[in-house]
Symmetry: C2
DNA sequence: CAGAATCCCCCCTGATACTG
DNA sequence: CAGTATCAGGGGGGATTCTG
């Protein structure tokens, strides 16, 4: 959608838009679930795996690493055999809880409307496609 | 990460967690940018394409269709040749602006800390990998 | 226990070309 | 102008295996 020749500067870019910057952090499949699992305090690796339905070790580790890299989660290692590793939100990570809860609240109130809208939409447009 | 035999019910699942439900709506690459483009009122299809940096017609249409299906965006067609089509947020869509702004505010305040954390993290772990 | 490493597949996305 | 159709590439994510 570039306009060669005439150049109207687009004013909404992923790089600039704050919405996108944060989504770049939390829009992975498991990230918010991991943050959610940490909201009540430190928790061990294995316990997180059990709490989050359907997550694999690979994705749990990968998600935690990313959150660590972003400074939102801290890793605590107690050297022992076998080792004891727990994770917790950093102070920065905790500041993210508030906007996430707003999103959660929005969902509680409005999500049924979204589901209803989807059903209506699908019914409306299945009619035109139903016989192939 | 299933525990066959012993079954502790996991308490955090994508299906149940409100965080994930909403992200299911907004976590696409372009969705929030499209919503952002609509926050000041109705706007035509072509104008949106010009405003949102880097989006293709295909992704713009696809994103708008999804938002329409979710009941967050309305399409207005003025029959003419060539046709005039504009889009706007529905009342439901407008309710989403508030939590999104919270996210935007979080970004304004804290994103530099995330960037700093990333640089530190990368420096720390590049040291151990730098000579292959 | 807490990972790392590997293989593989699906789907999101981009580029291009065509249409009413 | 406002789309649709088709093809091709890359990366996120899953399943499995191995390790200190």
């Amino acid at each position: 959608m570039t306009t060669p020749g005439l150049k109207k500067t687009p004013d909404i870019s992923i790089a600039v838009c704050g919405y996108s910057k944060t989504l770049e952090i939390i829009s992975n499949k498991w990230t918010v679930l991991v943050i959610y699992a940490l909201e009540d305090g430190a928790i061990r690796y294995g316990e997180m795996g059990r709490r989050i339905d359907g997550i694999s070790k690979k994705m749990l580790t990968q998600t935690l690493r990313q959150l660590e890299r972003d400074g939102l989660v801290q890793r605590h290692l107690t050297p022992a055999i076998p080792p004891i590793v727990s994770y917790s939100l950093t102070p920065l990570g905790e500041t993210l809880l508030k906007p996430l809860r707003e999103l959660n609240d929005w969902t509680k109130v409005h999500y049924t409307q979204v589901e209803t809208a989807r059903q209506e939409y699908d019914q409306t447009y299945s009619a035109s496609t139903e016989n192939h």
